[in-house]
Symmetry: C2
Subunit: 457 residues, 2 copies
C-alpha cells in the first residue's frame, strides 16, 4: 500500500534523509519542522502515518504523540517515534504516549519500510470502517469515533503461546495486573482455543519446541474466526527475517527477548486498544443497520422491516403448504390519552403496549409497529382458530392490568381492538391478508372496541 | 496478509508442488482435485483466493471460474488461472470468464507470491465492506451483494496516461467501443485531472518521457480522492522489478507491451467491475445509514433524527443568541380518513402532507415525522411572528388543494392544526419549547381545528 508519510523533525537534514529514502520506495512524503505544524497536518487528514522525532524544541515528540492519540480525529493515524537514544525509558515513554512503534537513529532501511508498510496496511482496513463511522456521525447516529478513541486497552483477554516455563510465567505475572491470561504451550491446542474463545490479543513465541511459531501466526491470520485478533511475536535477535515476514503478512507487532516488562505492558495495551477501536466501529455500524429496521420508540421492528420480510415469508410458507396468520392491533381511543395526559404519557403507553404484545408472541413471529398506535403481528404456521385465541389472550392481558404512566403517578386502563386474518387459497400477495385483518379491526372498532374480530379468507 | 489459498488441479504432483511453495511463504493451503469440489469449498467461504488449473477432466477451469464469478456468494474471491500453455486465446478465455490473472506453468515463484499477496490485500479491504453488506441483508435491507456481483464492467470513464502517440491511440480506439476515454500525456496534469474527475480506472505507462510512471501510480494510491480508483500499469519486459513494487503498494494489475487488444479489454473490464463492486457496497451501506434516520413512508427524517439533532441545534443557536422556532402539525380527523377510505388512502395523504410541508421549508430546517399523522418542523434563526406566518401559509396550502388518493380516483379535502412556539429565555431544553408547541396544537384542535395557535414563551 502506498501512503502519505509525515516526517516530523526540527533538523532539515534529518527530514531530507527520510524523504529521500521513502521517496525511493514510492512513498509520498510531507514534512513538519515542529509539533503544532504536525498536529495541524494530521487534523486535516493529509497523512497516513507519522514518523515523529522525539527531541524537538517547544513541544517534544511525546507530547505530540499524546495529543494525536487523544483526539478522535487523529487517534487512528499510526505514529512511529524516531529517536537518537536507544533507551528503554524513552521507548517506554513513547509507547505510553500511544506510539505504535519505535525506530532508532540511524534508521535501518529494512526496519523502516517493513514497519511503515505493515502499519499502513492495517490502517487501510480500519479506514473503510472509519469512513462508515464518519457517515453515521453525519447522520446523527451517535459518535462511535469518540467512543472508539477513548478505549483504555485494559482488562483484556490474552492468550500466551509459549513453551518455556520461566518466560511464560514472567509474561503472565506482568500482564495479570491488568488482564486475564491463558497460557498454552502446544500450538495446535492454541489454535483450537483461539477459534473457540474471544481473545483480545495473542502473544506468540516464534521458537516453540519443534514448531515454527510464525506458522501459527499465519494460521491465526487466515482463519475467519481469529483474523481480527492482534498478534505479537516474541522473537530472538536472530529472528529478523521471520519478523519481517510476519509483519508483511499481517502480524501486528513483536517483542525481542529478553523481554522488557514495561515494553510488554505498553505494546500489549496499544494492540488491545487498536482491536477495540475496530470492534467499536463495527458494533456501531451493526447498531445503525439495526436502527434502520427498528422503531425508535418501542424497539419493535418497523414497517420497512415488515414490508421487506413479509413477502418472502408469505411465499415460503405458501410453498411449504403451511398456514400464516396476521393480527392488526390498535389501541382504543389513543388520541384521547395523548390529549388528556400529554405525548409523554402516550409514548409510555405505546412502549408498554409493545412489551405486552412481545410477551405473548414467539421469536419466529414478526412484531412490527405499523403506524401511530398500531402493531402488526405475523404468525407463521398458525391457523385462524389459534390466531384468534392468541389475539384474545393479548386483548385480555392489556385490559386486565392498567398501564402506569407519568413516572408511575397514574395508571391508565387501556383496551385494544384486534383484527385477525389468515392467508387464503386465492391470496396473491400479503396485501390481501393484511386487508382482511384491517377489515376485522374496523369491525371490532365499529361494534364497540376492546374486541377481536377474525375475518375468514 | 496471510490467507487460505485453494489449489485446484486434477494432478496430485501439481497440487503438492504449489502447496509446498505457498506453505514455505506461510500461506495456508487447501486442495480440490476437480471443479465441483472447488466450488463447494468457495461457497462455504473456506478460502481467500483460488489457484485454478485450466485443463481438468469434466468441468474445466474456465467453467469453474465463470461459475464462481457469476454467484454473488463467491464473486468476490480472486481467481488466478494456472495453465501449461502460454496461448493468448487461453488467457483471454480465462479473463473473459472473470479470472483476475493468469500464471503460466512452470509457475515463477516471484510472480506467484507477488500476485497472491496483492490480490489477498485488495480482498481484505473489500471483505470489511462485504461483512457489513451481509449484515444489511440479514436485517432485510436489500441485497447489495447480488447487485454488486451483477455489474457488467462496461461504460466506464477511463483515464489513459501515455505519451507515445501511437500507443495511446491504439488503446483509446480499442476501449472506445465500450467506454469513455481521456488521454493525458503529462503526469502532473494527469494527477490534477484524476483528483477533479470521477474516473473508474486509469491505465498508466511506466515509461513516460522523463518521468517514472510508477511514481504517478503511488501518488494516485496515496491521495484520498483517487485511492479507490483501480490502476493498471503498462510495462515493458524489463520493468519486472517495478511491476512487483507496484503490485506491492496497491496497483491492481498490469499489461505488457506489445499490448494485446483483447487482453486490454478483458483486464479493463475486470478492474471496472471490481471498483463498482466496492462502490455498490459502500452506497448500500450509506443508504442503510440514511434509512436509520428516515421515515420509510414519507421520506422525512424520523423522530430518532429529530431527537439527536435538536439538542445540538438548541444549544448552538442559544450560544449564538439566535431565535429558534418549532411547529407541530397534525392532520385533522386523520383517523376517519383511514377508517373511511382505508390505510392505503391514509398513507397517500401522509405522503402528500409531507411533500407540501417540505415545499414550504428551507434546507436548514429540520422536518421530521413525529408520530402517526404528526410532523414537527424546527426553524433555526426564526422568531415567533415569522414562524406563525410560515405555519399559516402551510395551513392554507393544505386546505386549498384537495389530496388525490386511491390512484387519483378520489380527492380529499384535508386540513391541519398547527401549534407554534419559540425558544424562551428560561428554557432548559428543547423539551420546554416542544411542550409549548404541543399546547398550541391542543388549543388549535380544541377551538375548532384547521388553525394555527402560537404560544409565547
Amino acid at each position: 500500500m502506498s501512503a502519505r508519510v509525515l516526517i516530523v523533525d526540527d533538523l532539515f537534514p534529518n527530514v531530507k534523509l527520510l524523504e529521500t529514502k521513502l521517496g525511493l520506495e514510492y512513498f509520498d512524503t510531507l514534512a513538519a519542522m515542529n509539533g503544532p505544524d504536525a498536529i495541524a497536518i494530521c487534523e486535516k487528514g493529509l497523512c497516513d502515518l507519522v514518523l515523529l522525532d522525539v527531541m524537538m524544541p517547544g513541544m517534544d515528540g511525546f507530547e505530540v504523540c499524546r495529543h494525536l492519540k487523544g483526539n478522535p480525529v487523529t487517534a487512528h493515524i499510526p505514529v512511529v517515534m524516531v529517536t537518537a537514544l536507544d533507551q528503554p525509558s524513552d521507548r517506554l515513554k513513547g509507547l505510553d504516549a500511544g506510539a505504535d512503534d519505535f525506530l532508532t537513529k540511524p534508521v535501518d532501511d529494512t526496519a523502516l519500510f517493513t514497519r511503515v508498510r505493515s502499519l499502513v496496511r492495517l490502517k487501510a482496513v480500519t479506514d473503510e470502517l472509519r469512513q462508515r463511522a464518519l457517515a453515521s456521525r453525519a447522520y446523527g447516529i451517535g459518535d462511535p469515533l469518540a467512543t472508539a478513541a477513548a478505549e483504555s486497552g485494559l482488562d483484556a483477554n490474552i492468550l500466551i503461546v509459549e513453551d518455556r516455563p520461566g518466560a511464560a510465567e514472567r509474561m503472565a505475572t506482568a500482564l495479570l495486573q491488568h488482564h486475564r491470561i491463558t497460557v498454552e504451550t502446544n500450538p495446535i491446542a492454541a489454535m483450537q482455543l483461539a477459534a473457540e474463545t474471544e481473545f483480545d490479543l495473542a502473544l506468540i513465541s516464534l521458537d516453540l519446541d519443534g514448531h515454527d511459531g510464525l506458522r501459527l501466526c499465519s494460521q491465526l491470520r487466515s482463519l475467519d474466526r481469529t483474523r481480527g485478533m492482534p498478534l505479537i511475536m516474541i522473537a530472538e535477535a536472530h529472528d529478523r527475517a521471520r519478523i519481517t515476514r510476519g509483519l508483511d503478512f499481517g502480524v501486528h507487532d513483536y517483542l525481542m527477548r529478553p523481554l522488557d516488562r514495561n515494553e510488554l505492558l505498553a505494546r500489549t495495551r496499544t494492540q488491545v486498544r487498536r482491536k477495540r477501536y475496530s470492534d467499536v466501529l463495527r458494533g456501531a455500524m451493526q447498531a445503525s443497520l439495526q436502527m434502520a429496521v427498528t422503531d425508535g420508540l418501542t424497539g419493535l421492528h418497523n414497517r420497512r422491516y415488515l414490508d421487506s420480510h413479509l413477502g418472502a415469508l408469505f411465499a415460503e410458507e405458501g410453498v411449504r403448504g403451511r398456514a400464516l396468520a396476521t393480527l392488526i392491533l390498535d389501541i382504543d381511543r389513543f388520541k384521547s390519552i395523548n390529549d388528556t395526559f400529554g405525548h409523554e404519557a402516550g409514548d409510555e403507553v405505546l412502549r408498554a403496549f409493545a412489551d405486552r404484545v412481545r410477551q405473548h408472541t414467539r421469536p419466529i413471529d414478526i412484531v412490527a409497529r405499523y403506524g401511530g398506535e398500531e402493531i402488526v403481528v405475523i404468525l407463521p404456521d398458525t391457523g385462524l382458530t389459534e390466531a384468534r385465541a392468541i389475539a384474545e389472550r393479548i386483548r385480555e392481558r392489556i385490559e386486565a392490568t392498567p398501564f402506569p404512566v407519568l413516572r408511575q403517578t397514574r395508571a391508565l386502563t387501556v383496551t385494544v381492538s384486534i383484527g385477525v386474518a389468515v392467508r387464503g387459497a386465492h391470496d396473491g400477495s400479503p396485501g390481501d391478508m393484511l386487508r382482511r385483518a384491517d377489515e376485522g379491526l374496523y369491525e371490532a372498532k365499529a361494534t364497540g372496541r376492546n374486541r377481536v374480530v377474525a375475518q375468514a379468507a
